[in-house]
Amino acid sequence: MTALLHVEGLGKRFGGFVALEAIDLEVQDGERLGLIGPNGSGKSTLVNCICGTLRNETGSVSFAGEKLDGLLAHQRTRRGLGRSFQLPRPFASLSLVENLRIPILYAVNARSSGVLAGAAIDARCRDVLSQVGLAEKADRLPRDLTQIEMRKLELARAMASEPRVLIADEAMAGLSHGEVDEIIALLIRLNERGVTVVMIEHIMRAVMEFSQRLAVLVAGKKIADGVPKDVVRDPEVVRAYLGE
């Protein structure tokens, strides 16, 4: 296996505050990686740097052998880096189908040679919505959705851009036990179809169930990376979560 996503020595500061310091991270093609860490440890900042929403001051991000440094967020999305936001950010004035239309028009069509049009786009949107169980609400507006449906829409929109890597930033925060299971099943199905998934999560049960490999961020540094059941026993990780 070759590394699909390669983060090397990545650093990010906000003024005098060091949010990320020399982060090295490799994600293999087809892998399911879990990324955990206490609040404020820099997980979302890392995602934002990888996806181009924020600019990292040091280090670099490579994707599929290409350096992404200096590319804007939409250019990275077009190359196959999909992400969902921690707090769902739907396009509020557009129906669910139209929400998914945006990444198809602007990411999928910008990428492939065979450009989708009219009815084909609509069919594709409805297909993705049915994969996440939102087919019946396809023509509704996001404001009609429940919390879990909103999370599913967020994932569906990322899926619609046909990413090679999907980074799910706390897609399950605040969901019930059953709802968490639903999202895990959805992400595993996606992974089985060949999409590499990076999951950022606080819910340990979900992380342990989902991840093949686990990386831990604490205070802007990566302190552990490896097989999940070993990582959670790592004394440094235990100290970070529970204290001395």
Partner: protein, 311 residues
């Protein structure tokens, strides 16, 4: 309705309106109709940036006056230049300024962008006021021909016809945007810019297209103004009325559709003219202001929003 037939219908409607005006044979009617149609163009132009993309531009008069004053300049340099050519030049000038200010200000969001555009209007007005070639603060006279070229009749009929043509182009453009991927990209930017970027939308490029088109149409709407008023000075070219109306009309008509600015301009522009004649010439801005407040309260989606099916 597809794009082609839609344009044909627009042209047919415009032709019918013009024929009706000719049949009335009343130059006052042409003067009033010119203003209303001018506001349709101005409102549509504002709506491309403000309604579709969600960036509220208060600097309408800057673009409008750039169009008007470029006609003054051209008229002094090349008096024989036909008006349509002046409109193209005015539109290009205002479009370039639109893209330029867009590039400088679009990092600002929400109200900060609006304030920057307001500052632009002040800057342009100051420049024009101090530019002697176009009359400076004294203003400039533009002598228009007595009769219309090509079509005969009064020159105002020609001005009205030109503005109608511009209106057809503006409306066809607005509707084409609504139905294209450009329109979806604009809507995504309006709703959530970070999410739009994450979905592959090149937000900066699209915003520059929006500011360029919007500014360009405003400039085109302003280009015939010197010939309409025959005397143009900064205080009339940069009048607050243009800015207030160009914002109020789409808001009242509805910002989600090309039809909104049309309804708003006909309703507000018509009412203003009626009150100007019957009550006082100073109630213009009051009408727009009061109607805007009323509509923000009872119909935030505008008149078009009232008739759209509830989803």
């Amino acid at each position: 309705m597809r794009g082609g037939p839609f344009i044909l219908v627009l042209i047919a409607v415009a032709a019918a309106i013009f024929a009706f005006g000719r049949w009335l044979d009343n130059s006052y009617a042409f003067f009033v109709a010119y203003v209303v149609v001018q506001y349709i163009v101005l409102g549509t132009a504002w709506n491309i940036l403000g309604g579709y993309t969600g960036y509220v531009n208060f600097g309408i008069t800057a673009f409008f006056a750039i169009g008007a004053y470029s006609s003054v300049v051209l008229h002094k340099l090349v008096p024989a230049m036909p008006l349509p050519a002046m409109i193209v030049v005015g539109g290009v000038m205002a479009g370039i300024v639109g893209v330029g200010t867009g590039y400088l200000t679009l990092r600002l969001r929400g109200v900060y962008f609006s304030i920057a555009t307001l500052a632009l209007a002040v800057v342009v007005q100051t420049l024009i006021t101090n530019w002697d070639f176009v009359g400076g603060a004294r203003g400039a006279y533009v002598l228009r021909p007595r009769t219309a070229p090509l079509i005969g009749g009064g020159y105002i009929e020609y001005l009205f016809l030109i503005m109608l043509g511009l209106c057809v182009i503006a409306l066809a453009t607005a509707r084409a945007i609504e139905r294209s991927s450009l329109g979806f990209g604009f809507a995504a930017i309006r709703d959530d810019e970070a999410a739009a970027e994450a979905s592959g939308v090149p937000t900066l490029k699209l915003k520059l297209i929006a500011t360029g088109l919007s500014g360009g149409f405003m400039g085109m709407a302003g280009a015939p103004l010197p010939f309409y008023v025959t005397y143009l000075d900064p205080s009339s070219g940069f009048s607050l009325n243009y800015a207030v109306n160009a914002i109020a009309m789409p808001l009242i008509g509805g910002t989600s559709s090309w039809l909104g600015p049309v309804i708003g301009a006909v309703l507000v522009g018509g009412l203003q003219e009626y009150l100007r004649v019957t009550i006082s010439s100073a109630v213009n801005v009051l009408v727009a202001g009061v109607l805007m407040v009323v509509f923000v309260i009872i119909a935030p989606q505008g008149i078009v929003g009232l008739f759209k099916r509830k989803r």
